[in-house]
Amino acid sequence: MLEKNGVRIAAVSYDSQEVLKGFAEKHGIGYPLLSDQDSAVIRRFKILNVNIAPELRAHGVPHPVNYLVAPDGILIRKYFVPNYQHRVTASAVVLQEFGTVAEDAARIVLRNKTLTVEIGLSGGKAFAGQEISFFANFELKPGWHVYGTPLPDAYATTSITFDDSKIVRQSFELPEAPPMKIAALGEALPVYDGSFQGRGSLLLKFPIEAGRIVLSGRVCFQQCSDTVCEAPETVAFELPLTIEPFMVPTPKK
């Protein structure tokens, strides 16, 4: 999925070249596994794990960080999940950076007479403790708008929130809303009209039992036209996600 988007993958560990060669052959790994035997590069990145006593074989390992690096060496984004085994999903990276989602990802379309919202996850599968992304495509009928921020108390901002039963941390971002002069009110407010897209991220809890779960969420918005302003609305939705079994030692190709 990353390769299709022009991003290559490489992994760094403190293993010898022989260990890495055996590992690559055993698991059919095609991408480069780099040998940082004295942890010198790990130290240079300042991510040596100092919690591990010198007598343990794990001494010298890094904190688990993934870096998305531009070809010129500038760091675009980094991914760290406070659980050494599972990382942000490849599909979440692809959605955040390139706007495409995995084929097995759940999506749902919510519609009322003026607004259509399509909400989808970056992928269909994830591990507990991993970070996934989601998108939301909004489309309003001509003449109607919804609100951005900052906003006076009397109006409801457009937002998407997931229930926190399976989620540790979440975010949702919309592009900046241009101010629009509302004729009936004589004031300018930040609004969205036509089509616009938001993106968000969800850090899954650990542990979660493997199998199919449902992520419940709600979209809040207030739709207005030049002449009519409706009451704020909240629409609930559900998106399925498959949690993969916890101890899966075989890496993906």
């Binding site: 490489a10 100092v50 760091l75």
Partner: protein
């Protein structure tokens, strides 16, 4: 998580040893031990360079002995560089 982070290396090492022993023996790892292990491992975690900064230069041999650096690793849109624990255990 609700479990305390151990204060010194010896205490962390004891948790890591017990975790490793159970994993090696194929015994189930209780959620509490797993959580303690994760907390011990992630204490004072560091995530290195920040977005917008240049990453440190590096040149390391890959599994076939080929010396690799950013120049011969990156695709047209860049490189996902993943730091891992070990492929050996």
């Amino acid at each position: 998580m609700a479990y305390d982070v151990p204060k010194d290396l010896a205490e962390k090492a004891a948790i890591m040893r017990e975790f490793g022993r159970r994993r090696a023996a194929g015994e189930p790892v209780p959620d509490e031990l797993y959580a303690k292990h994760v907390n011990a491992t992630n204490d004072h975690y560091a995530t290195g360079p920040e977005p917008g900064q240049h990453i440190p230069d590096f040149a390391l041999p890959d599994q076939n002995g080929v010396l690799r650096s950013l120049t011969n690793l990156a695709g047209p849109n860049g490189l996902l560089l993943a730091f891992h624990r070990s492929a050996g255990w």
